[in-house]
């Protein structure tokens, strides 16, 4: 293992006050549904932790997940926690290139064997190894080689978690998420397009504090953040119950902040922390800005009907098939009536 400065020393050097740091620890404990008594333990663990080695692999992605974390309006403690980790390999952020970059990855793997974290953004193409390569290495090979000595893998964003946009129908590259390939290591999914920065760092904070990964839901997402739907925590929920809905994006209902269900909001079926943690330092989240939730943290959200199609709309397929069923019904009816008439005629004759 490398023995660099502790996370606490790095944060101090960056000018993070004790108060600001403890505030972050308290928020993290609260978000992870831990009791207040755990705050000192989180603080001690993060402060004293040697900078954990992190290898960040980027595959079929748009860099939005990295942007989400690094492009905040002002430096945040979450951002600085990321600064405090030893990010030994990251395409967007590293200075090294080519063979030097790959050498850095191998060095980090050797020096921290069994203890490093692998963060992945982007989906992995499986249809043809040549669809996406880095330094001549296919994404699948790089992922499988890198996770061999990892303590855990964190899939950042919906592409890495579930295949995301590259995996949308017809999925030409055969894109899959990390969990579809990595079966022998703990995999934590932090989906979202992009995911909330606080959620990413809280997972790291838990790993630093307890050396474990958080409790996960059926899709491998941390329950502390993905345990409730957007709809359940939405401040517009009372309007849903009152039957007050915006019909268009500029009608009186929209201006009055009514429920966006009829405009296609996927909040009722979307599990994420947007409505509570919010974005841009707690400023707002998409629904607060007047746009329906797209359901970006759910598997295959691109293929679950139109973004602006209300959730309760049925998918009836082609009208031709329904017409075919109607024609078949009419034909059966005519045949049944003809048989009935024959029987009637027979009885009448007998009578």
């Amino acid at each position: 293992m490398k023995y660099g400065p502790t996370v606490g020393e790095v944060l101090q050097a960056k000018g993070v006050s004790r108060r600001g740091f403890l505030k972050y620890c308290a928020t993290t404990a609260s978000l992870l549904a831990l009791p207040p008594s755990m705050i000192p333990r989180i603080a001690a663990a993060i402060e004293n932790a040697r900078r954990p080695s992190v290898i960040w692999l980027s595959f079929q992605e748009c860099t939005g997940c990295t942007e989400s974390l690094t492009r905040s309006a002002s430096p945040t403690v979450e951002g600085l926690i990321f600064d405090a980790i030893s990010l030994d390999y990251h395409h967007t952020l590293q200075a090294a290139a080519g063979e030097q970059a790959e050498a850095a990855r191998h060095a980090a793997m050797e020096e921290n064997d069994g203890g490093y974290l692998v963060l992945v953004d982007g989906s992995i193409p499986t249809a043809n190894a040549g669809y996406s390569t880095i330094a001549g290495i296919s994404n699948v090979d790089m992922l499988m080689d890198t996770v061999k000595g990892a303590a855990a893998v964190v899939a950042i964003g919906s592409c890495a978690a579930f295949g995301g946009l590259p995996g949308a129908d017809p999925n030409p590259t055969g894109a899959v998420g990390v969990q579809d390939l990595v079966k022998d290591k703990p995999v934590v999914n932090v989906p979202g397009c992009p995911p909330i920065p606080m959620v990413m760092t809280a997972v790291l904070a838990q790993f630093l504090t307890f050396g474990t990964i958080p409790d996960l839901d059926k899709h491998g997402r941390p329950l502390a953040f993905f345990g409730n739907t957007i709809h359940d925590r939405c401040y517009r929920r009372p309007f849903y119950e009152q039957g007050k809905f915006a019909e268009t994006f500029d009608d009186e209902g929209a201006k009055a902040g009514w429920c966006l269900y009829k405009l296609g909001c996927k909040g009722p079926t979307t599990y994420n922390a947007c409505a509570t943690v919010k974005w841009n330092q707690g400023t707002s989240f998409p629904i607060e800005s007047g746009h329906p939730c797209l359901g970006c943290s759910e598997p295959r959200f691109w293929d679950k009907g139109g973004f602006y199609q209300p959730l309760s709309t049925g998918h009836f397929g082609s009208g031709a098939k329904l017409g075919g069923a109607a024609v078949a019904g009419v034909a059966l009816g005519v045949a049944a009536a003809a048989a009935g008439r024959r029987r009637q005629a027979k009885f009448t004759k007998e009578a």
């Binding site: 739907t229 709809h231 359940d232 849903y240 119950e241 009152q242 039957g243 809905f245 269900y261 009829k262 009722p268 079926t269 598997p299 679950k304 009907g305 199609q309 209300p310 959730l311 309760s312 709309t313 049925g314 998918h315 009836f316 397929g317 098939k321 329904l322 075919g324 069923a325 109607a326 078949a328 019904g329 009419v330 059966l332 009816g333 005519v334 049944a336 009536a337 003809a338 009935g340 008439r341 009637q344 005629a345 009448t348």
Partner: protein, 217 residues
């Protein structure tokens, strides 16, 4: 494909095909039947006015039976009015129909719908208890009666579980609710629930026949 996608997609499609095909089969099969020959002298002309009259008068109980049938009649009214409101005046349902037909209309607040849903289930249970305890009703009831009751109540119960998030997660409850509706749609044309589209035809026919024979309707 997850359970909700299956329910909203293939399951609903197949149920819709069976509903449309089955309803037309039964309707046309009955409408095209030959009228029974009636050789008696008609007392009155019958026709459409007689049909409409009976459709209206049969909505209420005849005087001699009012007292005896007050309880089941009230329960039946609560159940049918409740069903109508829950199906057609709940906003997510209106959105569903709009997706199908292109038409929409104003709905009731969700909380009102939840109350009506509970009242509908309670009246349904009351009617089932009566069916099970009345010796005559018990005798003339068969599988069709009980299964029709079951497939009508199931969407109501599964629908009421959604707002309270009981037993399962929202998306699973919604999928179960839609699947229960699919079961209702599949059974509707073939069992006694066929009265949904046959009730006015049968009552109208009764009205015309009775009027012709000079019966008081």
């Amino acid at each position: 494909m997850d359970l909700l996608e299956f329910a909203r997609g293939p399951a609903l499609q197949v149920a819709a095909y069976i509903l449309v095909g089955g309803t037309l089969w039964r309707l046309i099969g009955i409408i095209l039947l030959k009228e029974k020959p009636d050789f008696s002298e008609p007392r009155k002309s019958g026709g459409l006015p007689a049909a409409l009259k009976v459709i209206w008068t049969r909505a209420f109980t005849a005087d001699p039976f009012k007292k005896a049938t007050l309880y089941p009649k009230m329960m039946a009214y609560v159940m049918h009015i409740g069903l109508f409101a829950v199906i057609f005046l709940f906003t997510p349902h209106i959105v569903f129909f709009e997706g199908w037909t292109g038409f929409d209309w104003p709905g009731l607040p969700n909380n009102v719908i939840y109350l009506l849903g509970v009242a509908t289930v309670v009246s349904g249970i009351a009617l089932l208890v009566r069916r099970l305890t009345s010796p005559v009703l018990k005798l003339i009831s068969n599988f069709d009666d009980y299964f029709s009751w079951f497939v009508t109540m199931l969407p109501l119960v599964t629908g009421l579980l959604i707002p309270v998030r009981a037993l399962f997660r929202y998306e699973d409850l919604l999928a179960i609710h839609i699947l229960s509706v699919c079961l209702l749609l599949v059974w509707l044309p073939f069992g006694k629930l066929g009265h949904t589209f046959l009730v006015f035809i049968t009552r109208g026919t009764t009205g015309m026949v009775f009027e012709r024979r000079g019966a008081k309707t």
